[in-house]
């Protein structure tokens, strides 16, 4: 069952140098219970797509246009503040990149989780506090009573991200959007947090959207991948097929640039050139200036996202 349907989403920001076109016609969908990865480099529009989806980008600075922006039966293009409050944190929860900056420094962790619970469920403070404690136990925090009383600065990044996940789960959301949840953490902690997210997703059956620039994270956590570049979707594929037989030259280049396992002096492969300038995106396919297979058509015309076997899709003139 389709629970998120985004069609032809455009997001732009007014900047004093001009209009930044962060997202240029993104279409994607999410099915109930699946885990979807959104991968792309910085500036590819992957985070902005979902901030726009959650209506967290504010007018007048951001302009959002779409043919469809639907969550279950709610049209998010015409949603009132009340329904929006009911969606955020209740139906769709988000966790963000920097756990240290994600909590209000002036309130305890307990206060902030209780606050979230009470917004969506009328419940006494004592009951909410007990629920918050259970949530902390669920994210494998061993000293929940203490952590409830701590202020954010008293906890490490890994602990805070656990608390953040607990807070995100507090109203049993149907969708969890994780926006680079491990980027700011130590490598050892990263693996634990990813494991925790996958475990919880399996237990609850909620859908997961994992936004990341790290293909390793994709390989470990998601079933299906959307590859984004220059504010466009380049490829959509199940995870295994994407790694085994990438269709789009950009996806291929990304996979090739993963450092090899063998020790030695082989040079790290990179994609030459830089991400497109969102103030003045290149004509045609946004990847053509860096693409080894680009020809005149790629320069002139933006390729459409075409569907291939097994629900795979790619936007490239060179894919046959």
């Amino acid at each position: 069952m389709k629970i998120v349907d985004i069609e032809n989403l455009h997001v732009s920001f007014q900047h004093h140098d001009g209009t930044i076109k962060a997202v240029r016609g993104v279409s994607l969908e999410l099915f109930a219970g699946e885990s979807l990865g959104i991968v792309g480099e910085s500036g590819s529009g992957k985070s902005v797509t979902f901030l726009a989806f959650m209506k967290l980008l504010q007018a007048p600075f951001a302009t959002i246009k779409a043919d469809k922006l639907v969550l279950q039966n709610t049209d998010l293009l015409n949603v009132d503040n009340r329904s929006l409050s009911n969606i955020r944190g209740n139906i769709v929860s988000m966790i963000f990149q920097d756990p240290m900056a994600s909590f209000d420094p002036l309130f305890t962790i307990g206060h902030q989780i209780v606050e979230t619970i009470q917004v969506h469920n009328p419940m006494r403070k004592k009951a909410a506090l007990a629920k918050a404690r259970d949530l902390l136990v669920r994210v494998e925090i061993t000293n929940p009573d203490q952590v409830l009383k701590y202020y954010p600065h008293q906890l490490s990044g890994g602990m805070l991200q656990r608390a953040m996940i607990a807070m995100a789960l507090s109203c049993d959301p149907q969708i969890l959007i994780a926006d680079e949840p491990t980027t700011a953490l130590d490598v050892t902690v990263q693996a634990q947090i990813l494991q925790l997210i996958t475990n919880i997703q399996t237990e609850t059956g909620m859908s997961l959207i994992m936004i990341t620039h790290d293909l390793g994270v994709i390989a470990e956590t998601v079933d299906r991948v959307v590859v984004m570049y220059g504010g466009r979707v380049m490829e959509i594929s199940d995870t295994i097929s994407m790694f085994e037989s990438p269709k789009h030259p950009y996806t291929k280049a990304l996979i090739e640039s993963i450092p090899g396992r063998e020790a030695g002096k082989q040079k790290l492969k990179e994609i030459k050139g830089a991400s497109p300038n969102a103030l003045a995106p290149p004509s045609g396919c946004p990847f053509h200036p860096r693409c080894s297979q680009a020809d005149a058509k790629c320069v002139a015309e933006m390729p459409e996202l075409l569907t291939y076997e097994n629900g795979r899709a790619a936007a490239c003139w060179q894919v046959k």
Partner: protein, 311 residues
């Protein structure tokens, strides 16, 4: 915490001593003296007698030590320009109008400025922001004697609602209080706006919205509280700056406050009054910063509890 308080109190004593020495040296190094009148000069003998009476014939360090001994016993001497009373009596008398006007100005200007700043930040880049920021820029850039003049012109001369100047009945306080309020209003409007915008751009505000908290709660329970911390730090110093009198406002409205004594004590080499005024301000600023630091620490758990990190 106790150790911190003691350390701060000691450092205030040190500041006080250093300021008093520098002040004493600078004050006496200005050529001329308090009894050097040119239009009706004193005879040499009379001048020598009067200098001896006030101890001005002694070496400077003796004068300083004697002065500080007096200060330790709350004896600040007798002002040369008004020998009928002690310095403390003069300060007690002249400070009341300055405190009423300056205090009134700060107490009105602070909430007004904060409200303007909040409105501006919440309606950033709209006409509300431009009007609020405009008021604040005008308040900071138009000299207070011009504002005072305009107030007198409009409300006393043209509209004839309020008396133009004087001191006594509360009716006469209104215009000078408004004039005094201009600076705190303008300062706070700027501070509040930038503090609010600073907080609004923090990632946790996005998290608060993403978890479904209504905007009203995001602003009033979280953003305002976080923005209050930088705003607290300006309050007491500004209060003291204002409540110790404004030469201009008091002159414009003919208020018998402290302001005029700052000028006259320096001009007439009124050493006891000059020392007392400046030392008083030094001590008040020291304590203002001290109290501000403590309040700041109480508001901010990061400082209150220290940075112990639990893995």
């Amino acid at each position: 915490m106790l150790g911190y308080v003691i350390r701060r109190l000691l450092s205030i004593c040190a500041t006080f001593t250093i300021v008093s020495i520098l002040l004493f040296i600078m004050m006496h190094s200005i050529p001329g003296g308090p009894f050097d009148a040119t239009d009706m000069p004193l005879s040499e003998a009379a001048k020598a007698t009067i200098m001896a009476k006030y101890g001005l014939d002694q070496p400077l360090y003796i004068q300083y030590l004697k002065y500080m001994w007096g200060v330790l016993h709350f004896d600040f001497g007798v002002p040369f320009q008004s020998p009928g009373e002690t310095v403390l009596e003069l300060l007690g008398r002249a400070w009341v109008p300055s405190l009423v006007l300056g205090g009134g100005g700060v107490l009105i200007g602070t909430p007004l400025g904060i409200m303007l700043g909040i409105l501006a930040a919440l309606n950033r880049n709209t006409w509300i922001d431009y009007v609020a920021s405009g008021i604040s820029t005008l308040g900071l850039t138009i000299p207070v004697f011009v504002t005072s003049m305009l107030l007198i012109l409009v409300f006393a001369v043209w509209l004839d609602w309020l008396p133009a100047s004087g001191w006594g009945e509360p009716k006469k306080w209104i215009l000078p209080i408004i004039a005094y309020a201009a600076i705190p209003t303008a300062t706070y409007a700027r501070y509040a706006r930038s503090a609010m915008l600073d907080t609004l751009n923090k990632p946790f505000v996005m998290v608060l919205r993403a978890k479904g908290l209504p905007e009203r709660k995001v602003i009033f329970q979280h953003v305002l509280r976080n923005s209050a911390i930088p705003m607290v730090t300006v309050f007491l110093p500004m209060f003291i700056g204002t409540a110790t009198g404004s030469i201009f406002v008091e002159a414009m409205f003919r208020v018998p406050g402290l302001g005029a004594y700052f000028v006259s004590s320096i001009r007439t080499r009124d050493y006891p009054l000059e020392m007392a005024l400046i030392l008083m301000i030094t001590v008040m600023f020291c304590f203002a910063f001290f109290i501000t630091d403590i309040v700041y620490a109480m508001l901010n758990p990061k400082i209150r509890l220290g940075g112990k990190v639990i893995k």
